[in-house]
Symmetry: C2
Subunit: 363 residues, 2 copies
Amino acid sequence: MSQRKAAGDAGRATIRDVASRAGVSVASVSRVLSGNYPVSEDLRRRVMKVVRDLDYVTNAHARSLAGGGTPTVAILINNITGAAFAHVAKGVEGAATLRGWLSLVGTTGDDPERELALVNLMRQQGVAAVVLLGGAYDYDEYQLRMARFARSLDAAGSHLVLVGRPPLEGDVPATTVDYDNEGGAYAMASHLLSAGHRRVLVLPGHAELTTAQGRLKGAQRAFEAYGVELHPDLVRHGQYDYEHGYAAVARALYETPGFTAVLAGTDVVAAGAMQALRAAGLRVPEDVSIVGYDDIPLSAQLTPQLTTVHVPYEEMGRVALRAVADRREVGPDRRRGADGDHLVLGTHVVVRNSVKPPSTLRG
Amino acid sequence: MSQRKAAGDAGRATIRDVASRAGVSVASVSRVLSGNYPVSEDLRRRVMKVVRDLDYVTNAHARSLAGGGTPTVAILINNITGAAFAHVAKGVEGAATLRGWLSLVGTTGDDPERELALVNLMRQQGVAAVVLLGGAYDYDEYQLRMARFARSLDAAGSHLVLVGRPPLEGDVPATTVDYDNEGGAYAMASHLLSAGHRRVLVLPGHAELTTAQGRLKGAQRAFEAYGVELHPDLVRHGQYDYEHGYAAVARALYETPGFTAVLAGTDVVAAGAMQALRAAGLRVPEDVSIVGYDDIPLSAQLTPQLTTVHVPYEEMGRVALRAVADRREVGPDRRRGADGDHLVLGTHVVVRNSVKPPSTLRG
DNA sequence: GCAGGCATGGGATACGGTTTCGGAACCCGG
DNA sequence: CCGGGTTCCGAAACCGTATCCCATGCCTGC
C-alpha cells in the first residue's frame, strides 16, 4: 500500500521532498539552506520557493548527527520557583539565545538520584555544557559525585559548570562561577555592628548547605573584627524559606529574647522574620532591625524596604555561558590549567530602610 | 594515520565500540539497552559490563533519528523571572520529567520576531509540543499568527498549547489551558463591594493584554451587579509590575482622591500600590483596602497579607502536559473535534488581611 | 579552436542508532 | 537419528542531513 512517501503525508517534509520537488539534488538544498557554499541565484530561488511552500525546517537531530547542529546548554536547578535561581537561569538563557544556542532545563528537587539521572540524560543529548545551579550540601560524598560528573561530561566532549557552589578540589575538569559569599556576609554583619547592634539573631540557613556555611563564616569574622561575641544560642539554622524565618524568630523571642537585629540568610527568610516580629507587636526597624541576603525583587517590595546584600545572579548566568562558549572556541585541547576555571564575582551591601541603631542607643 | 577509531579516543563511545568490545553485534547492544526485546541473561551481563566500563550513553540524536527518542516539550515564556510563569513552568517540567520527557525553555521577551524564531527552532527539534505561556496582546494580527503556528506545528507532528491565553477562533489544531480569569475578578470585586467599598481604584493592567481585559470585565460585571458605577477616572492601565502599582496610586491620590480600596490586576502591582499608600501616610487596610490577583508567594509575605485570587498555575502546567501526552497516546488521527482542546480551571478568592470595610462605615 | 581553470551541481558516504528479516543453535518428541 | 518449533543473535536497511569528491559546463587566454 503506502509507498515510502505518500501524497499528503502527515509527517514532516524532508530535505528529499524539497529536492525532488525543486528538481535539484539533496546536496544543493542543504547548501542553499546552510549557506556555506556558493550557489547560483537561480538555484537559491527555486529551492527557497519550495521551502516556503512546504514550510520546511531542517531536522535538528539529523543535522547534529551529521556534524552540524546548534549547541545546547543544560540548566539543572533545585527548584525552578526560587527567585535567585530564576535570575541565573535568565542570564544563562539570554546569553545562550544571543549566540543561537538552545537551553534545556531540568529540576532536581534536591534529590541526588534525579541529579545523576539528569546529568546522564544531558550527556545523551550531547549538550555543550551542564550548568548546576545553587548551593550544595557538603556531605563527604558530594565532592566525589561532582568529580565523577565532571570527568564523565568531559569525556563526552561536554563540560560541567558549577554556579553558586564552591569549586571542586583537585584536578577536575569543571568550571566554577561563584560570588563573594563570605565577603558579602562580612560586610552585611559589619553594617549592623557599626550601627551599634550587639545582640544579633543570625539565621544562616541549613547547616550543611555550602551557601549557609559561607554566610555564617563571614558574619563570624565580622563579629571577631568588632570584638563582639556571637552567642551560639542566637544562631539558628533552618531552611531558606519564609516559614523558617517566621518560626525561628517566634521561638527566639520566647527562648532568647533581647536581640536588637536579625541577620537573615536570605531575603525570603528576612520576610518571614519581619512578619513574626510584627505579629509580636514589634516594629521594624524601630524595635528590631533586619537585613537579608540576595537582593531579589521582593526585598524592595517589603515594608520597610530591606537592607540586603546584592548578588549578581543574572551576571553569573551570563558569565557561566560565556565561559563555556570561550572554552569551546579555543578548542578542547588547550583546556588544562586555564585560569578561567574559577570566576568570582563581587557582592555589595544595598542600604534601604530596615536598619536603625538599637533603641538603647537612641535614648 | 588515524583510523576511524583511534585508541584512547577523546570523543564519546559509540554503540559499535561497546559491541566490538563485548564481542557481540551492534543490534544486541541496542536491544539490551532499550530492553524491548528478549535477550539472554548472559548477553545482558556482558554488554552491561562494557557499558559501565566505558561509561557509555546512547546518542539521543541518533536514537531520535532512528525512530525512538525521548519526547520533548518546549516552554516559551515572556520573562522567566515572573513568579506566575515560574509556577506554570514548574508544573510542565515536573509532569514532563515524571514521564521521562525533556523540557526545553525559551524566552520571547514580548517580541513577536523572537517568538516566531523560537517556534521554528522548536519545530526543528521535533518537539512533541510547544507550550506558550502568559497573556497575549490582542492585536488583530495575533489570531492569525497563532493559527499559523498551530497549523505549522501540527503539520510537523507537533502541537501548540496555549496556557493562560484565550483560545483561538475557528478550526485550529491547538489546545488551550485556561483559568476562569473573569470569574475570579468578579468574585474579587464582589468581595470589596460587599465589604461596603464604593469608590475603588482599579489597576487592571495593560489595556491590550487579554488577561487584563478579562480581569477588568469581571470587575465591571460585579459593579453592575451591585448597581455601583465604576468611574472611568478610577481605572488606570499600565504594566504588570511594582513600579506601575506605585506610580498609579501616587497619581491617583493626587488626581482622583477619595477611593477606599484598590483592585490590583496582579499581586506585584498590589505590592507597589501598598507601598505608595504607605508613603502617603495611609494605613492598609484601615484607610485603604487592597486586593491582588494571582496568589503568588509574595502575597502571603506582605504586611498585611494580601487578599487575592488564587490561580492554579502549577496545576495548569501539569494539565497542559497531560493534554499533549494524552493526544499522543490516542494517536494523531483521532484529533479533530476532541473536546479536550479547551480546558478551564477554576479560581477562588483567598481572604487574608488586606481588606476592611471603608472607614466611613466604621464610624 | 582548443586546453585549462573556475564556478556549480550531483552522487555517495558518514553520522550513531533502531528494527526487520533471516539464519543458526538448541530443544523436544517420534 | 531426524524434522519442526523456539530462542537468540547478527547482517543489513533505513532515519534525515552535511560534506567530500567528482563531473559538467562555461569562460578565458593563447
